[in-house]
């Protein structure tokens, strides 16, 4: 099925199941410890061995020798495969750093051997015995240096109007530089796989992946084997946030170990290994210039940024992307430098580009509002746009950012905010208020599904994944709505390469695309039922199909044999002539301690505009989860780079500090009641990434409001303010 034009009125506008607050249907399995994650699937194949990885301990260079004799003779060891034993594996079209093979070391903790043994202890013990000799080379690990050299060079990526002239003639201007650090996804389930490639022919991988079809394709390319010989399963994923979009070393090492030992092998990446072996969000440095008239209208915007990537590319962290679209302004120039560094591979993490871009841009907006003497909410309202400012012929399909701002200001009590640093006190805490806007695109990807109706029970099969987002639940809701069935009569099976390929989970495209795919399959099923009833006028209600004035139970229709249908939703070109996005306004209250400059967030509010909300329960959780991740990004999360040696130093969950309960205050989320007919038949856009956008800047702005100290270098830690606390208040 092809989605060729905006949706008109349809059954979702009178929905019975969609849009209702429905607890996730996989909840009972999860709370009782029964949901099977990749590393514990002992039942899927017998005789599993355990693999343990060994990582390089240099940032760049080559391996001249590896002594594995002791390891191979250690108790319980079934196989040792080192990177010197095999030719360099192909780098798949989704990867940039090679996952294994050859003597070249391109990043710290690159996998250089896998030991396979009967038990984990044996494998780990033997891995310790491998003696590696390196020839270390100098690497380039310094983004700051690259920024200083690159600033102002290269052509603009996009430019409209006459930016230089606009700045020269502007009444009010701003020119500041902001920094965001490297960040880690830090999902709770480590990368894990069980691989069975015992015969060296057919490969089955039970893994933890956001994208089944990509994983399969990558495996095929990496090992140069036919995709048809590979099966991938990933029904439960313990979080991803982008970390599990692409094939990682866990599956590759398990497969190599399995081929060598001729038995299935399970392998999980030890937590301290993940930070440097796998991917992360790149640090960014961003210079933002704004120009406006005294009336507060932006006349020019310039955004120049740098992030680092592994040689070959792949880093989506382009903070300037959003700048093309978010606010009005006739003159604009954006430029992004992808700097190649020898650090581990930078890759997508929740809202790549927007997350770090808004961390900076929304501080700049706050600074500009202050220069103009304007309320930052008013300033943003004034500079709203309903068209792509660089291509005014392209309208936003449905943009209600101004409503987000207004509703948020009202609900938060913005008019009573603190006005001057130090004015509002709560004991020894200086209280501050801040806000920020948020924008995140709403892409869609082709997505397929198969549906089976048997004795009135509907089974939905698609290779879509549920990484905590709620796919099981919203796809069941979609199926139930389409067939007029109660939710209990729908089973959803996910994450198996034997099912039709879906969009997968990522880029905030999962919910919108995969529900549309299930819609398409259900339309096909409805047509098939209508065909069997020899009519084209059918409705589906209360477990019945209603043809003319006859109601036939679906149970009866599908009593003898199951009826199946399969289809794929493709999204038409008309979407290219529109900007489809999601929007939010964030409001935050912080307290900053007057003596120690510790920052504590006290209150957070998000107002979101994301089209139809398919399930308010799962959607709200997505947003507050994002807000919490952004809180970590604002105040504590930072991968520290060892610049001489080229690796992330704080590579565990004690040193990489995500927010804990006590850091997280009262959070509220309001969804505007909006619909976007241009996105899909369900008129629903994603929210999974919107929630992280803009929040950190709101915290930074609130901190400034409390103290009068502008920190432009995340995370906002006390040392950056301690010596500048206000003298009197």
């Amino acid at each position: 099925m092809k989605f060729e034009e905006p949706t008109s009125d349809n059954l979702f506008d009178r929905a019975m199941v969609i849009g209702k607050a429905t607890p996730r249907i996989d909840g009972p399995l999860k709370v009782s410890g029964q949901a099977p994650y990749a590393y514990e699937r002992h039942d899927v194949v017998e005789d599993q061995l355990v693999g343990y990885p060994l990582g390089a301990t240099i940032g760049r260079g080559r391996i001249t020798a590896m002594d594995t004799e002791a390891a191979r003779n250690a108790p319980g060891v079934a196989a040792v495969v080192t990177t010197l034993d095999i030719d360099p594996l192909e780098i798949s079209s989704f990867n940039n750093a090679r996952l294994f093979g050859g003597n070249e070391v391109r990043h710290y903790h690159q996998a250089i051997a896998v030991v396979v043994a009967e038990t984990l202890e044996q494998a780990r013990h033997a891995a310790e015995m491998i003696d590696v000799t390196y020839e270390e080379e100098e690497g380039n690990f310094d983004l700051e240096k690259a920024w200083q050299n690159g600033l102002g060079t290269d052509e603009a990526d996009a430019e409209t109007g006459n930016v230089d002239e606009a700045f020269a003639s502007a009444e009010v201007t701003l020119d500041e530089t902001y920094r965001t650090p490297d960040q880690s996804h830090a999902m709770m389930e480590p990368h894990s796989s069980i691989a069975d490639w015992s015969d060296g022919e057919n490969m089955t991988v039970w893994t933890s992946s956001q994208m089944i079809a990509w994983a399969r394709k990558s495996l095929a390319e990496t090992f140069d084997i036919d995709e048809d010989r590979i099966r991938v399963e990933s029904p439960f994923v313990g979080g991803g946030f982008g970390a599990k979009l692409f094939l990682r070393s866990d599956a590759v090492l398990a497969a190599l170990g399995s081929r060598a030992a001729q038995r299935p092998v399970k392998l999980t990446l030890p937590r301290p290994f993940i930070f440097n072996n796998a991917t992360h969000r790149s640090a960014t440095i961003q210079r933002i210039r704004l120009a406006a008239g005294q009336d507060g209208r932006l006349t020019a915007i310039e955004h120049e940024a740098a992030a680092h990537e592994f040689e070959g590319g792949g880093n989506e962290e382009n903070p300037t992307n959003l700048t093309k679209l978010f606010y009005a302004g006739a003159n604009r120039r954006v430029k992004h430098h992808d700097v190649v560094l020898d650090l581990p591979e930078s890759s997508s993490m929740r809202a790549p580009g927007e997350a770090s871009g808004l961390m900076a841009f929304e501080i700049a907006m706050d600074e500009m509002a202050e220069k103009l003497g304007m309320d930052p909410v008013e300033f943003r309202i004034l500079n709203d746009t309903q068209v792509d400012p660089m291509n005014p012929d392209v309208p936003f399909s449905d943009r209600n950012f101004v409503d987000c701002l207004k509703v948020g200001a009202e609900r938060f009590g913005w008019s009573d905010r603190n006005r001057k640093p130090g004015d509002t006190r709560d004991g020894l805490w200086m209280v501050g208020h801040g806000m920020a806007g948020a924008y995140r695109g709403a892409p869609t990807l082709t997505s397929g599904a198969r549906v089976r109706l048997e004795r009135g029970h509907l089974t939905v099969e698609t290779d879509m994944t549920d990484i905590g987002t709620g796919s099981y639940t919203i796809l069941a809701q979609t199926g139930a709505e389409m067939l007029g069935l109660p939710l209990e009569q729908v089973t959803v099976k996910l994450g198996d390469s034997r099912f039709p390929a879906s969009s997968g989970s990522g880029g905030q495209f999962g919910a919108a695309s995969s529900t549309a795919g299930v819609y398409a399959a259900c339309v096909a099923l409805r047509e098939e039922i209508a065909r069997r009833l020899e009519t084209d006028d059918v409705r589906f209600e209360d477990g019945n199909v209603i043809a003319g004035n006859k109601a036939i139970p679906l149970e009866e229709i599908s009593a003898d044999a199951e009826i199946t249908a399969e289809d794929t939703m493709e999204f038409g070109d008309f979407q290219d002539d529109l900007e489809i996005g999601t929007f939010a306004a964030h409001f935050v209250e912080v307290g900053v301690h007057a003596a120690t400059a510790e920052v504590r967030v006290r209150r957070m509010l998000a107002v979101c505009d994301a089209g139809r909300i398919l399930n308010p329960v799962t959607a709200r959780s997505q947003v507050i989860g994002g807000m919490t991740m952004a809180l970590g990004a604002a105040l504590s999360e930072q991968l520290a780079v060892d610049k001489p040696r080229g690796y992330f130093v704080n590579h565990d969950l004690a040193g990489y500090e995500v927010a804990v309960h006590a850091d997280v205050p009262d959070q509220e989320v309001i969804f505007l009641d909006t619909l976007d007919p241009a996105i899909s038949p369900l008129k629903a856009k994603g929210v999974g990434e919107l929630g992280i956008c803009g929040v950190a800047a709101a915290i930074a702005n609130a901190t400034y409001n409390a103290t009068g100290i502008r920190v432009r270098d995340y995370p906002i830690t006390l040392d950056k303010m301690l010596d500048r606390l206000p003298e009197t208040f």
Partner: protein, 493 residues
């Protein structure tokens, strides 16, 4: 002598003959029992995905505590009831905390969920907790979740955890108590050979003898440090002696003169007595590690471990604590600050172990403050920890004891600052500057990933100012930040 460990699981007594010295409860569950509901997210006590509940008798009452099974040694559950996420649902009916987690959407990707469920299970069984968001937050601070943003979990807890317990565990509590009483015995436990064993003596003399024989053995109290030596540092520790079954070592005795803390007293069991000594200690205690770490970790272990960033030594040193050591040769006591000789080096002889400490109660003319500075509010290691006890007579400081963690290779007193502040006037901040200045000669902190040297020094000075300002109580609003500036001016002058 017993050569097995015994514990309860699912209402049954389990007896194991085969217990490796470094085998963890998590590995036992996942590998030996193939019960994979309990997850491993980090293997080092940071994430709580591996949380299980341990039921023990405390003064005859059955108490459930959350613990991190990834760093808990299997032998340490001897005599306890082990409860895991698989044990909660009855037939297919979810336990009330599980049902609430579903209803309030406390589980998304679900990987953290079994750990949360078990933490909430222990809250469900804790009696007399005040029903508040804050109480819940404190209870589950040791469970990380990257998906939910926590609020749905807190909502689930508020809904499910504060009514009288009414589940299979409360129904069979009497039976469980009887079984646990039967399991308690006073035999020494020794499993293994003389070159590789897990052991758990039942008496102090037994311990002194065994440790005297094997001075190379590893003593383990709560294993919140030792567990990481195993899972993270991959150390070979063939001989393990657990102190958890020695009667009397868990004692906590409060008196007008102070608090006596036995070497096996945990953060949890000492919290009340410490809060009573000083509210600041109460706050500090709550911010050490997490509920899981506090349920297992001991104050004695924190001291014996000798880390320069341990949280309790600075506070206890400032209070004038004495440490008691014992071996087969006899006992001795020494001021706590004398115990820390150098980085990784303590004044402890071969075969000697800590039996307890005595913390004097501040007298009526003494004011005490201590502060922990870390990035996150909970579950975080301090970058700087400062503790201050001032004796104040007629508004003049007549004696000062100041100690910091994170400023030197050991927890260390600020002797220059102490001297400089003696004679300072509480109501005259201009007399404090010399003390703040003197800190510069007391410490040469180092720069590491957690904090730079300048940051540590700046923070140390801010903490001293904070203490003086709070204690002086003289219009703190006006002077609080000024004081730092004045000290700066002093330095410039």
């Amino acid at each position: 002598m017993r050569d097995t460990i015994r514990f309860l699981k699912g209402g049954q007594v389990v007896e194991l003959e085969n217990v490796g010295p470094t085998e963890t409860v998590l590995d036992y569950l996942r590998l030996r029992c193939r019960q994979t509901g309990t997850k491993e997210g980090c293997g080092e006590g940071d994430c709580g995905a591996c949380t299980v509940a341990l039921g023990r008798l405390v003064d005859g009452k059955l108490v459930y505590q959350p613990v991190n099974s990834c760093i808990l040694l299997l032998g340490m559950i001897d005599g306890a009831e082990l409860v895991t996420v698989e044990d909660l649902a009855l037939d297919s009916k979810l336990h009330p905390v599980q049902a609430a987690m579903v209803e309030f959407h406390g589980s998304q990707c679900g990987f953290c969920t079994p750990g949360f469920v078990m933490s909430l299970f222990t809250l469900y069984h804790a009696h007399g907790q005040e029903k508040s968001r804050k109480a819940v937050t404190e209870w589950i601070a040791g469970n990380l979740c990257r998906c939910t943003g926590y609020r749905p979990i807190v909502d689930a807890a508020l809904d499910a955890c504060f009514d009288a317990a009414d589940d299979a565990f409360s129904w069979r509590a009497n039976e469980t108590r009887e079984l646990l009483q039967k399991l308690a015995d006073s035999r020494d436990v020794f499993i293994g050979e003389s070159d590789s064993f897990f052991s758990s003596p039942a008496t102090l003399d037994g311990l002194a003898a065994l440790y005297g024989q094997h001075p190379d053995a590893t003593l383990v109290a709560g294993a919140t440090d030792v567990g990481l030596w195993i899972t993270k540092q991959l150390r070979d520790l063939p001989k393990m002696i657990w102190l958890g079954r020695i009667e009397g070592l868990e004692r906590v005795e409060s008196s007008p003169s102070g608090v006596l803390i036995g070497a096996m007293a945990t953060y949890e069991t000492t919290e009340e007595a410490m809060s009573d000594l000083s509210p600041d200690l109460g706050v500090l205690w709550k911010r050490i590690g997490s509920k899981q770490v506090r349920a297992s970790g001991t104050v004695g272990g924190n001291i014996a471990n000798g880390s320069p960033i341990g949280d309790t030594p600075p506070a206890l040193i400032a209070l004038g604590t004495t440490l008691e050591l014992h071996s087969s040769e006899g006992s001795r006591a020494l001021p706590l600050e004398k115990f820390f000789l150098d980085y990784g080096k303590q004044d402890r002889n071969s075969g000697e172990f800590v039996t307890g400490l005595f913390v004097p109660r501040p007298s009526s003319n003494q004011a005490f403050r201590c502060y922990k500075i870390s990035k996150r509010f909970d579950q975080d290691i301090s970058s700087v920890m400062g503790a201050f006890r001032f004796t104040i007579d007629d508004g003049t400081i007549t004696d000062a004891r100041i100690a910091y963690g994170g400023m030197a290779a050991t927890p260390k007193r600020a002797e220059h600052a102490e001297r400089a502040l003696t004679g300072a006037l509480m109501d005259d901040p201009s007399t404090w500057g010399a003390g703040m200045q003197a800190l510069l000669s007391d410490y040469k902190p180092m720069t590491d990933m957690r904090a730079s040297a300048e940051y540590r020094m700046e923070t140390a000075r801010a903490l001293l100012a904070k203490a003086l300002m709070e204690i002086s109580g003289t219009a703190p609003d006006e002077i609080r930040v000024l004081a730092i500036r004045e000290a700066d001016n002093d330095r410039a002058a």
